[in-house]
Symmetry: C2
Subunit: 199 residues, 2 copies
Amino acid sequence: MGRIAQYDRQAALDSAINLFWEKGYSGSSMKQIEQALDMRPGSLYATFGSKDGLFSEALDLYSERNSNEMSAHLENYESIMSGMEDYLRKLALAFAPGTGTPSRACLIVKTLLEISHRESDLGRQVNRILDSIEERLREALEQAAARGELKRGTDCARLARLLQSQIIGLRSYAQRETSALQVAQLGEDMAAILAGYRS
Amino acid sequence: MGRIAQYDRQAALDSAINLFWEKGYSGSSMKQIEQALDMRPGSLYATFGSKDGLFSEALDLYSERNSNEMSAHLENYESIMSGMEDYLRKLALAFAPGTGTPSRACLIVKTLLEISHRESDLGRQVNRILDSIEERLREALEQAAARGELKRGTDCARLARLLQSQIIGLRSYAQRETSALQVAQLGEDMAAILAGYRS
DNA sequence: TCTTTTTTTGATCGGCCATTCAAGATAAGA
DNA sequence: TCTTATCTTGAATGGCCGATCAAAAAAAGA
């Protein structure tokens, strides 16, 4: 009994991701959200509770997809380090100027810089997400170390931090008005840096 | 003749930089600006024209200071590469968690990620500023190359891009809830990477 | 002191902000 | 077909947004 919901939650979150990714949290008004998701305020608030709630769900879904994409990418490689190095190159291609993504910069980092100054659930959430990504990178590097792909004595937690900061730098740099070639070279240089840690 | 202005333009812009740096463009309301600068709307709009105008001037001043600080730092070094490497370490210390800056992340990058999605004067300005910083880095690296500090055949423009993206990554990473030690290690690792390009 | 010029003040503007809610629409069970 | 439960709609909410402006205040020259 009861009316069936017309909207598709996943599709709605997809639209929300695209909007927030492009315009950021403060830059996206409820009116724009209503239009992007083709939902009226009543449905929106019944479904997601608030603008914050919607953003939070969108950010989580975005992060989960990013994480899954990296894992899926690494599965194709015998060598973890080769996979990692190619992942940097792949990011440089995927988020180069001219590609049709809502933003070249990462939504997580955009959120970090936009709202982590205040004590808020969103601020804690974005820190938690970045922690888990760094942890995922560390696990992969430790696996590589266990396989003897890394120089003896390599501090994997520390290298994971460097790697995350490289990715942040790469994608933020890509947000500039620059060329695909320059971003690709940046990805190449970062891959070479990572290769320098190999045994 | 005519009443003397009470406000100090430089002091007002200082306050504006601190506010915008912490809360971003959208996150800073005119009411907060009035309070931070201790100026009433009439004076504000007579002096800076608009919120955009104020932000634009604050961003330019912030950028000029950053640029001057880097130049001043490099002057203390015989070796340009040593100066550059220490500059990365210095950034890691200056913008580590616990230091009292309004934000650990760079205002220029925060602005890039917040508003460069739209066609706007501010978007063009932030791109222009980043161009000039990269250009400044390139000049320093070419000077280093001319002195024989760099490996033969080093592409200084390309290395300047890598360096800028490292700085972006370092300071954005520092915005996370992390420790001063971790950021310092990150700076150390980046200095080591740069040292890898030495002859 | 009076006039002229500039700055400062604070009320005020229309508009958009996130959010609420009552009324209408639509489904399944009785 | 009627009831009940759920979802959708769109107008309305109070409040804050960036911006304007007339009036008051303050300086310098006459």
